[in-house]
Amino acid sequence: MLTKVHTGLEPVPGVWWKPAHKAEKIWVAVAFVWCMILFAMMPLWHWKGGQNPSGVRRRVDPKAFYARTVAFANQYKVGEDKGLPIVAPPAGADVYVTALTFQWYPILKLERGKEYTLHLSSLDVNHGFSLFPINVNFQVVPGYDYGLRVTPTATGDFRILCNEFCGIGHHTMVGRVIVVDEAGRTVSDNAAAAVGQGGQP
């Protein structure tokens, strides 16, 4: 029943379609079941879990998206920091952030526990949205609007790093997101969050 003993370097005479041994069969079965679990976890998390990269996705003209972002910033502007508007949209609003070499426009001021639809896109090349320090990462692609429903769960002064190479100034590209509580304070309950200078959160 066994094939004749041979190494992987030797040609195999005759029929090699022979039954496997028990341990091998068990391992293949275990691995198969595990693979099904790996697979099932993803739909399961869409159903029960709170973090999914689904969002609403559509194509946009990069310039039109930028214009929409500027209009949004003007509409809800509450302050300014480093020349960038600080924008405080109401809960449930569509929020726009444009990535352009080398900045994230504008600065957002959101409220803890409220849901927003955060639209991300780029005016020029690919950028990488990386929310620091909680480490949430999304690809930002020119011509595509990624509308993610986000609910901040902690207050603080957050950063947006760029983690897709976008040109020689890539490492200078940092944006800012402020999350306040119901009373408008940034009581930081995530101690690791960097606290910026300037600006009136």
């Binding site: 039954p19 990488g128 949430v136 011509g143 609910t151 983690n163 490492h171």
Partner: protein, 584 residues
């Protein structure tokens, strides 16, 4: 395919160790490709040293422009040139030597090699002159000089033609009956790699030809998301070439070093077929948090349709060590669970490279890869240092390490030279793998704190807003830095050994049995032969009375440990994910 006329009888020599027939033209093609691979490794490793000393923020060696430029050079030379030239050598080796065959159209083979070299030189010229500062992924609308894209196209065309020649060689071997029965498993694995190569290289044409036309102004734009889809259908699927080639080498080194046997051809071959079936889907691993694709597409594709390629790797992860264990047991090393491991030839660099490759690839590369390639968990990992942390464990500690191990056998077998600096060679795999493991751990842990990949300055000294990473990140980056220095030393040692052996090495044509000779791996002078009644012993080892752990209880325990580590790491990451903001 035009096949050369039947070769002159003198075109073959008989290998002194294995008795295989080696065709002189094929030998030259193997040598040329292997040497070029080593040159590429030298360039890539030199760049690696400078990169690692830049990412180690406390050292921060290079200026920004040169960091990004050399990052492109490193990616290109390592992942593309080093790996693919070596794979070309493997294809020529598997197609001709292992099958006692002549190569199909060797002149065309030299031409294709030339094409690839010209392509490589164009690419390097563009990169070093700063006309292609786009990293090796070159996502548009970032644009490089047209010559850069042209170089890639030439390289890919050359490679595709060699793959065609490999298939032609298989046909010749079959027609001329140079072997009896079915292809050896190692050749079967190489064939798997070749088939996948065709698929990925066609995607390459699909992506680089329009991009080239765009760069010369003939078409107005390349859609950035479509580019990413097609580019990764080339870029990630080609990693499956590396996996298939690596697994083929695992089986080869297992056979050469410890007489590893194939437990069951059906299981191993079916696993190779699984690699082929779902291959184009791998692109999704890079697009899990992209705006261009919906959840259903992402789930089906990232899992290669329900993780069938993962299943394949888990199968090989069992059959390779089990084959080694059984091979050892059949030779009489039967004591206890792990006697076969204890008494294995750890001083043979071919063997140690094999084991290190299997272990790091499986435990580190495999587990992290499946985890961060999960649709939602990718939110935690995308474009952080966790990504290079993962793939250095697969393509470097796995594939590159296996290639190095194979080289220690190819030097005497194909180049007919003793391995130079034998004492160094004996520890080289440990040095390289150990250093690399530190790099991988450092990167993975730093990445878990959100440290981005492809980033010159995480102190953000020139940024508008300050960013302060958790101080422990410095520790991880130092781990990566020190590991990087060790790994590069290991890589340079390998290069030195290879170059000295090839060009100045002592000639060997005879492999006297039974004596240990410095410079010749023990698998050649003390071949791991099985006893005459091996089939009988094999029956006994497989007796049902030995219980469900069967003939290879040691391996059963090892994969059990692996499986527990896998489960733990995987669910820990789901837990970490659940702490983030709510996102949907």
């Amino acid at each position: 395919m035009t096949a050369a006329a039947v070769p002159a009888p003198g075109a073959f020599r008989k290998c002194g160790a294995t008795g295989l027939l080696v065709h002189s033209r094929a030998e030259w093609l193997i040598k040329l490709n292997a040497v070029t691979a080593v040159v590429a490794l030298l360039i890539g490793a030199s760049a690696a040293l400078l990169l690692v000393l830049t990412r180690w923020q406390a050292v921060h060696l290079l200026p920004a422009v040169w960091y990004y430029r050399l990052l492109g050079v490193h990616g290109m030379n390592m992942l593309i040139f080093f790996i693919i030239y070596f794979e070309m050598a493997v294809l020529w080796f598997a197609g001709t030597v292992l099958l006692n065959s002549r190569p199909a159209a060797p002149r065309f083979g030299f031409f294709n090699f030339g094409l690839m070299v010209v392509g490589s030189l164009l690419i390097l010229w563009m990169q070093f002159s700063g006309k292609a500062d786009v990293l090796f992924t070159s996502y548009p609308p970032l644009k490089a000089d047209p010559i850069y894209y042209l170089g890639i196209i030439l390289f890919a065309v050359g490679g595709l033609c060699v793959v065609g020649q490999y298939f032609a060689t298989l046909v010749i071997a079959r027609r001329e009956k140079t072997y009896v029965g079915s292809q050896p498993l190692v050749v079967y694995g190489a064939t798997t790699a070749a088939i996948i190569a065709v698929v990925t290289l066609l995607h390459g044409a699909l992506v680089y030809i329009p991009t080239f036309l765009w760069s010369v102004g003939l078409i107005p734009a390349v859609d950035p998301e479509v580019y990413r889809l097609l580019w990764w259908a080339l870029g990630h699927s080609s990693q499956q070439i590396n996996v298939a080639a690596m697994v083929a080498i695992w089986y080869m080194l297992g056979g050469l070093t410890v007489g590893a046997v194939v437990l069951n051809e059906k299981v191993s071959r079916s696993a190779f077929v699984l690699y082929i079936l779902f291959i184009s889907m791998a692109s999704a691993h890079h697009l899990l948090v992209d705006p261009g694709f919906g959840p259903a597409w992402k789930i089906v594709n990232t899992s290669y349709f329900m993780y069938m390629a993962v299943l394949a790797s888990m199968v090989h992860g069992f059959t390779v060590p089990a084959g080694m264990e059984l091979g050892m047991r059949l030779r009489g090393f039967t004591d206890g669970l792990f006697g076969w491991l204890r008494r294995a030839p750890w001083g043979d660099p071919g063997f140690s490279a094999l084991v290190l490759s299997v272990v790091v690839f499986g435990f580190f590369g495999g587990i992290t890869g499946v985890t961060i390639g999960t649709e939602q968990i990718n939110i935690l990992a995308h474009n952080t240092l966790r990504i290079p942390g993962h793939f250095h464990a697969t393509v470097v500690s796995g594939t590159a390490m296996a290639f190095m191990g194979a080289t220690y056998y190819l030097l005497p077998l194909i180049f007919q030279r003793k391995v130079a600096f034998w004492k160094v060679a004996r520890i080289q795999p440990y040095l390289f793998a150990g250093g690399m493991l530190m790099v991988e751990m450092g990167m993975t842990f730093a990445g878990s704190f959100g440290v981005p990949r492809r980033h010159w300055d995480i102190s953000f000294s020139q940024a508008a807003f300050d960013v302060q990473f958790n101080p422990v990140v410095d520790l991880f980056l130092a781990l990566m830095g020190i590991g990087g220095i060790l790994a590069v030393t290991g890589a340079l040692a390998f290069i030195l050994i290879a170059v000295k052996s090839v060009f100045l090495g002592e000639k060997v044509t005879e492999f006297p049995r039974g004596s240990a000779i410095a410079g010749i791996p023990q698998g050649l002078t003390n071949p791991p032969v099985h006893a005459a009644n091996v089939d009988e012993i094999n029956e006994q080892l497989h007796a049902p009375s030995r219980g469900w752990m069967g003939a290879t209880p040691g391996t059963v325990v090892l994969v059990g440990v692996f499986f527990l580590a896998f489960i733990l790491y995987y669910f820990t990451n789901w837990k970490l994910l659940s702490f983030l903001w709510k996102i949907g």
